[in-house]
Amino acid sequence: MREFEFLHPESVTEVLDLLETYGDRVKIIAGGTDLIIELREDEGPENLEFVVNIAHLEELNYIRQDAEKIYIGSGTTHSQLAQSSLIKEKIPALAIAANSVGSPQIRNRGTVGGNILNASPAADTVPVLIALDAQLRFKSTAGERTVPLHDIYIKPYKTNISSQELLVEVAFNKLSRSASSSFIKLGRRNALAISRMNVAVILDQDSDGVITDLRIAPGSTTPVPSRIKIAEEVLLGQKPTPELIKISGEKVSEEMINLSGYRWSTDYKKPVIETLTRRAIQEALEGRG
């Protein structure tokens, strides 16, 4: 186990002061389900001196709504997300994704903020939040700023967030009443599986069945998480047919190969992501997710 000092601040303000003083000598710990493994394997930042606990800070732990948006505190656990009646009603795909993380024990500790900032390509809540065009609110002693989730990722496990900033909130616009969402994950088994690949879909149709809004966000597919616009465009403004849904899935794999190149895993990933996308669109169409 790495050696460090353990700090237990009583408020977000105190955390921000510590971040200002110690900068990249600090690692923030919330759920710890990724960080403790790193530290135990003597990995993690070279100049680490302090581990600052935020898991106990109630001011980071909430799920709220107003007329337009839903706001989730960064310290909200996956269990809380999965069990929230607001999330289950308004955006079931997010509850399903949160409930597919690890195991009950992991979900009781791991937080949405950690899932986002650990920047694992296999993060389960991230594709849904990308599909929701979620915004992140960061605080530092200098003030606060709001950034689209989509803009923070540089490469797997790497974000452009400064060591002085604390993620405090994730927010996204509510969907229209007629919209539906789905999340499908492929893992080696149902419990405790890290996603091989996953995909989130949000979809809306008008009264004639024409698709008016479609967002397709796969995980473990592109170098950084992103909506696949060329796949969405296939169905936007159209009435869905099996043929169009199939083409949309193929556009996702086309984009994957464009961005990541043809790799040893592509023969496997190509048909899998096409199928997952097709199924996720179908599930959203059936309003099941």
Partner: protein, 157 residues
């Protein structure tokens, strides 16, 4: 390393401890307090052998720093018997149904079962499977474990 002052309640007993800052909750229980019922299996949160109940919820004690348990209320397998030290109904049901083979997963499995039944006293088989999905039994005695949890739920009605 600067030690930290830790106040917490484990198995209904108040502790005030001075511990290393990089201790895991699992190390605190086993190495400092000699509560050896909590097992270390994988050490990375995959097997659930180190499961304890912290503030009413199961956690992998290998993935919690001791300092994060400040002011927490914790139950380990040593703390779930009744006041007269009689076995908890889940423990009794595990014996009755033969749900213990090598026994390494048993403490964690029983605590996951307890957390499940505390929140959901009459779970379906699917809910039981979900409830123990974070606990691996390498003897693969899952059928008896599920039956034992069903029996315990019945007895605890």
């Amino acid at each position: 390393m600067k030690t930290i002052q830790l106040n917490l309640i484990i198995n209904n007993q108040q502790y005030e401890l001075q511990v290393d800052p990089n201790l895991r909750l699992l190390d605190l229980l086993r190495e400092e307090l000699d509560l050896l019922g909590t097992k270390e299996g994988c050490g990375v949160g995959e097997c659930g052998a180190c499961t304890v109940i912290m503030n009413g919820q199961t956690v992998n004690s290998c993935l919690v720093l001791a300092g994060q348990a400040q002011d927490a209320v914790i139950f380990t397998i040593e703390g779930i018997q009744g006041e007269g030290e009689e076995l908890h109904p889940i423990q009794a049901a595990f014996i009755e149904k033969g749900a213990v083979q090598c026994g390494f997963c048993t403490p964690g499995m029983i605590l996951s079962a307890k957390a499940l039944l505390d929140h959901n006293p009459q779970p379906t088989v699917e809910e039981i499977k979900e409830g123990i999905s974070g606990n691996l039994c390498r003897c693969t005695g899952y059928q008896q474990i599920i039956e034992a949890i069903q029996l315990a739920a019945e007895k605890m009605k």
